[in-house]
Chain length 317, copies 2
């Protein structure tokens, strides 16, 4: 397919161009959560003020999120995190000090070393933008890809879905706030321990950053199969259901909101007991939400009735 | 030393706070060009429009510079580059396409794989900001630090000094342009092959990014010794001397300009023949510009007369 040049280039067009030069197998065609090279898993994610966080988010939370979103990519590859390098734009002193505090807290919490990085002072008034590279050790049996789901596999998610999206609405004053959803937005918890433990049992795994449905579409596309998702099976938290009725629209909103940083994975049905046992041992909730089949894309049902896939299945870049 | 909190925090203050949490030995106290972890050398440098490049610099050149400044850090540790991860803010389509072209060219030139990264769309009007993480293999004998210079060592530089600073002045229309200096500014050449070959012979090595004098001060501080620099020995290019008279002020200007990306290294005098042989074999110029001694900081001489260290010894962040 020809890629447009002089007209507006979308992020997808740009990534297509990058993919054309990322020919090393370790890059996984830039189509996975992370690169996998000689037993290491490497990822780099950026967060930008006004895009990935609010100008009045606490700097401690922004630092936490920067670490968490990258470690979530490692979790999705079953990797054990080792260290990070941080790219930081300096701002005002109190904010910067809060950021270091949050960075320290997140790195201690996840047992990860600060290895290096760079600081720059961007021109005054520039929205803040941060990058982080995280390095982890791949699991011994190899890091799962997004593309290994096979017809017949069960599709699973960890935790509950939609809390962070509702937490964002709470931060914006659109919804009466509660602690659980605000924490899901401000302090996402990468599923590192579970990711490492479950990796040998999965055919495919990825983290949920842009919304369950859009990310499921990506797993379906990478795997060359169809993913059937039961909307009624998607796990919602009590905190979400305290402010939203349990109807299809609520479930669609939860499944198209971003920032969950839960894991989506595919495994043979025979692995279900092992998966539940691992999850129980780590006190992580896991829920089977559907099956992979022959076909493409995602197919949604709600109480066994077919439901249309929303036009906007998640956060579109 | 107490670090100011609520008042203006400088980059140095911020880095001091980061250092306090970067306790892993691999981080080298954030005081080196790169982290060195399990035989790998890891670095992350950012470049920001209006700070590290001009708004009307060609996107091909900006991409080249982003790669080159990071690979130069690897060169300074004697590392062989392996791959990079890129953090990219999208802008207009033609610029983005030019950037990918330049990125491809630089990665091919240096034989480095694009392993991954992230793209974001920053709010309109935001100065562009890019980050790159480069990964290389450390030399077998270990990666030299900045801090190993010892009294009696000779101090060397590769190439010529000050071309890039003059190239920037040419880009700004302040000086009649010539190709050599413009190329030094637009297309810095990391000394990768020479860095790898010379690493076993040096006590300390770093790359020159902010200016010879300020970077020599950093090597002196890290090494706990004094570096004596002979201003008259600093190698200047014919292209620079074509537009500047060979006087002390010219040499001070060259030695306090940034973006040279040459290597500064310290080695015992007995290694001089080996160093010259390596350099000759690789067609790289090397020049002995001084000696390490007992003391601290840098001491400048010009034709054997003491010269004051300029108030601004390089690019101050």
């Amino acid at each position: 397919m020809a890629i447009p040049y002089a007209s507006a280039m979308t992020e997808a067009d740009f990534i297509a161009r990058l993919r054309a030069i990322a020919t090393d197998p370790a890059a996984r065609g830039l189509a996975d959560d992370a690169a996998v090279w000689e037993g290491l898993v490497l990822t780099h994610d950026m967060i930008v003020e006004g895009v990935h966080f609010l100008p009045d988010d606490r700097p401690q939370d922004v630092a936490w999120k920067l670490v968490a979103v990258n470690l979530s990519d490692l979790a999705a590859k079953g990797a054990a995190p080792v260290g990070v390098l941080v790219g930081y734009s300096l701002g005002d002193a109190a904010w910067d000090a809060g950021f270091v505090e949050g960075l320290d807290g997140a790195l201690r919490r996840f047992g990860v070393a600060l290895l290096g990085g760079d600081t720059v002072r961007a021109p005054t008034g520039t929205p803040r933008s941060f990058g982080l590279t995280a390095i982890g050790r791949a699991p011994e049996g190899g890091a799962p890809t997004r593309g290994g789901a096979r017809p017949g596999d069960q599709i699973w998610v960890t935790g509950t879905i939609g809390n962070a999206g509702l937490g964002l609405a709470m931060r914006l004053g659109q919804v009466e706030p509660n602690e659980t959803c605000l924490a899901a937005y401000c302090r996402p918890q990468p599923q590192l321990t579970f990711g490492q433990a479950v990796a040998p049992h999965v055919h495919a795994m990825m983290d949920l950053s842009d919304g369950l449905l859009i990310d499921a579409q990506r797993m379906a596309a990478a795997s060359g199969c169809e993913l059937g998702i039961m909307m009624d099976a998607i796990p919602l938290s009590a905190a979400l259901l305290a402010v939203r009725p349990d109807v299809l629209d609520t479930r669609l909103a939860a499944a198209t909101a971003g920032d969950d940083y839960q894991l989506l994975f595919a495994a043979v049905p025979a692995a279900a007991d092992a998966i539940r046992e691992i999850a129980a041992g780590l006190n992580v909730a896991v829920t089977a939400i559907g099956h992979a089949g022959v076909g493409e894309g995602i197919v949604l049902t709600h109480h066994a009735k077919r439901v249309a896939v929303p036009d906007r299945p998640g956060f579109m870049h």
